[in-house]
């Protein structure tokens, strides 16, 4: 008869059961010479800039998994609330789940207060959560939005520190993008100038950093209006084939030809649109 044990009630949240097993597996795997599977990262260029009546957020659209491009057109500008959007760099799953959790919390909070949420609230919620997990949640974020006090732009690092600035860049292509900003940023720009500046900064990141690529997404947030431009610019179009490699009819001589007719009847016809966004 087996001994019966008292089962402690399981709490929700992170479970660290398999950490020791994973550590042992990793040492075994490296002894053989293979590698553990890599998490999907968004080696990225994300930027934000404040202009006269609002702000512009920009991001590229490449997601990498080690040395391979995992997603050629992923969406890095996440919705937080109708007036607040957040770009995410780092581990793709972490940025996705973090922004979704904060979006839900902000919605509950704004239902409770009855007001439009403020960007500072989202910033505080994000930094408290990221500090609690001591940087193990790899999410580097650019948070921007428009509230009753005007446009606000924050950059949030994985360990929980934040900066409030008029222009920010994050991700592996941040240095290339920051070079463009430092050269051409001016206070109180017009909307078109700000969009052009962000587009050029992301393009600098795309062309000079291996981790960023594909298209440029833009999100313009002004009082009462949000323009989510996806894609704003297709900087890396796949090339068009210049020649046709099909052989002409008659290249191979035909010896015999038999035609068999298959009797099929159309039973049902459905159209399903493909998600080409």
């Amino acid at each position: 008869m087996a001994t019966l044990s008292v089962c402690q009630t399981q709490l929700g949240g992170f479970s660290f059961e398999n950490c020791k097993r994973n550590a042992v597996l990793e040492t075994e795997v490296t002894k053989v010479g293979c590698r553990m599977p890599a998490a999907r990262k968004t080696g990225t260029t994300i930027v934000g800039v404040v202009f006269k009546d609002g702000l512009v957020l920009g991001a590229d659209t490449r997601a990498t998994e080690g040395m391979i491009v995992a997603d050629k057109n992923c969406s890095k500008i996440h919705y937080i609330s109708p007036n607040i959007y957040c770009c995410g760099a780092g581990t793709a799953a972490d940025t996705e789940m973090t922004t979704q959790i904060i979006s839900s919390n902000l919605e509950l909070h704004s239902l409770s207060t009855g007001r439009l949420p403020r960007v500072a609230t989202a910033n505080r919620m994000l930094k408290q959560m990221l500090f609690r997990y001591q940087g193990h949640i790899g999410a580097a974020l650019v948070l921007g939005g428009m509230d009753c006090n005007g446009p606000h732009l924050y950059s949030i690092y994985p360990h929980g520190s934040t900066d409030k600035l008029p222009y920010v860049t994050m991700g592996s292509g941040s240095l290339a993008a920051m070079a463009v900003f430092e050269d051409r940023y001016k206070q109180d720009m017009e909307e078109e100038d700000a969009k052009r500046l962000v587009r050029d900064a992301i393009a600098a990141g795309i062309f000079n950093d291996l981790g960023s690529g594909s298209n440029i997404d833009l999100c313009v947030i002004t009082k009462g209006r949000v323009d989510y431009l996806r894609p704003h610019d297709m900087a890396n179009k796949k090339g068009v084939r210049t020649g046709s490699y099909k052989y002409k009819r008659g290249t191979t001589g035909v010896l015999t030809k038999t035609v068999t007719k298959l009797d099929l009847e159309v039973v049902e016809e459905t159209i399903q649109t493909m998600d080409t966004s």
Binding site: T9, G12, G13, F16, S104
Partner: protein
């Protein structure tokens, strides 16, 4: 100064012998039994996450005591104790509705609500043993 004498600190216990089913060392999950395995947590965040709620409560209660006086945390803790008694038997799932409302968990979502839902847990305790344990008869 020994850690346990610091005010408001939550005592850190070792991880203990990692027993699985049948009272034997669970080698697959926790590795070979060694002194190091029993003392150190398997992940840097394990201890901090296990005691997170306790630490937050201690911090909040001591701040409340400093601002409003001793009566405030006393009254709150009495309410928590009352709400914690509204539960089903230990092996069944209870909703903790009153406790959640008091703590403010009904207005926020975090990883505790999304990951590792206790309602989906694969292990079930033996009902008689768990009730005896709770009543202190074991």
């Amino acid at each position: 100064m020994p850690l346990s004498q610091l005010k408001d600190s939550v005592p850190v216990t070792g991880m203990g012998p990692q027993v699985g089913a049948y009272g034997v060392q669970d080698t697959l999950r926790s590795g070979f039994s060694s002194v190091k395995n029993e003392l150190l947590p398997s992940h840097v965040l394990e201890l901090s996450e296990k005691n997170f709620q306790l630490n937050q409560d201690k911090m909040n209660f001591s701040t409340l005591r400093n601002i409003q006086g001793l009566h405030a945390p006393l009254k709150l803790q009495m309410e928590y104790r009352a709400a914690r008694q509204i539960q089903r038997l230990p092996f069944l799932q209870s909703s903790h509705l009153a406790l959640d409302t008091l703590k403010g968990n009904d207005e926020s979502i975090s990883f505790e609500d999304i990951l590792n839902d206790p309602a989906q847990s694969e292990m079930m305790g033996e009902p008689h043993i768990m009730v005896e344990y709770k009543l202190g008869m074991m």
